[in-house]
Amino acid sequence: MNEDAILVSAIVNGDARAFRRLVQQHQRLVGHLVSRMVNRTEDCEDISQEVFLRVYQRLPSFRFQSKLSTWIATVAYRTALNYLKKEEKHGNEPLEHAAGCWQDLPDAGEQLDKREIYAFVHQQITELPVHYRTVLTLFHLEEMSLAEIQEITGMPAGTVKNYLFRARKLLKDRLQARFLNEELL
């Protein structure tokens, strides 16, 4: 029995500490995906909490048809998507991410340009369509394969590849429009 199977079994049998361990192991993945999809920092923690509660409710029926992390990412993806649909129904516009995170880092001479570039890229990501943001996050941040992304999102493989290509091309073009070539070397 692998580690995930042992963990799931313990949780299903009522071990609260095992569930806390599962949350700790996967909160980074859930947080990244939810925060990128939702674009509202203040709601991310609540939505992520809802994700883990749903995971807990559905864990008894999880049969390891996929990796545990892939399944949890699927729950996170669907929960975030439902939240976005509800917000759209109520006519709420998603807020843009605060670009402040990069300003928290201490100034360090030559690193300033890179931080400025990264902050610009992250700002641009928030303006992409949600499916572009999703595939970028899963591929680059969580280093998931195309097959895993396909499984999580339910999109055909061709669509995932297409979204990845288009999102990256869009960002690259904006990067080149904003910064000089010498600054991007």
């Binding site: 947080g31 680059h140 990256r168 070539n181």
Partner: protein, 129 residues
């Protein structure tokens, strides 16, 4: 075409192949890939996992009171059955017994259906949890 060039550069970077340092498009993509690998600003509060785990309560084990009540109900039911059997007219009782014995299949089917309903009930409750 430009998009073909973009596609080739992206594919090479996806395979982690080192691209020409002087090509502006390749350099832009390299910088972009580096930025895409940086985590976004959002991070959880320190006690996030504890708070989530605290919201999940395991199913309560039956208390002594509820166990006692269940046993009490069973005893009352047995007592009541005993009293009924004791006071029932023997002729009626034997007619009922003969009727039941002549319809064993029906009785068996009824008991089987009750068992199936019990199992389904148990499975559904387990699933809902």
């Amino acid at each position: 075409m430009n998009s073909d060039k973009d596609k080739i550069i992206q594919q090479r970077l996806d395979r982690r192949e080192v691209d020409s340092a002087t090509d502006p498009d390749a350099a832009a993509y390299r910088t972009l890939y580096s930025a895409l690998g940086q985590a976004p600003s959002f991070c959880f509060s320190d006690d996030f996992a504890e708070r989530v785990a605290a919201q999940v309560k395991p199913a309560p084990s039956p208390s002594h009171w509820s166990t006692g009540l269940s046993i009490g109900c069973i005893l009352v039911a047995l007592l009541a059955s005993g009293l009924v059997i004791h006071h029932i007219d023997a002729a009626v009782f034997s007619k009922v017994t003969i009727w039941m014995l002549s319809r064993k299949e029906l009785i068996g089917f009824g008991v089987g259906m009750l068992a199936v309903i019990q199992l389904m009930d148990h499975w559904l409750i387990h699933r809902m949890r």
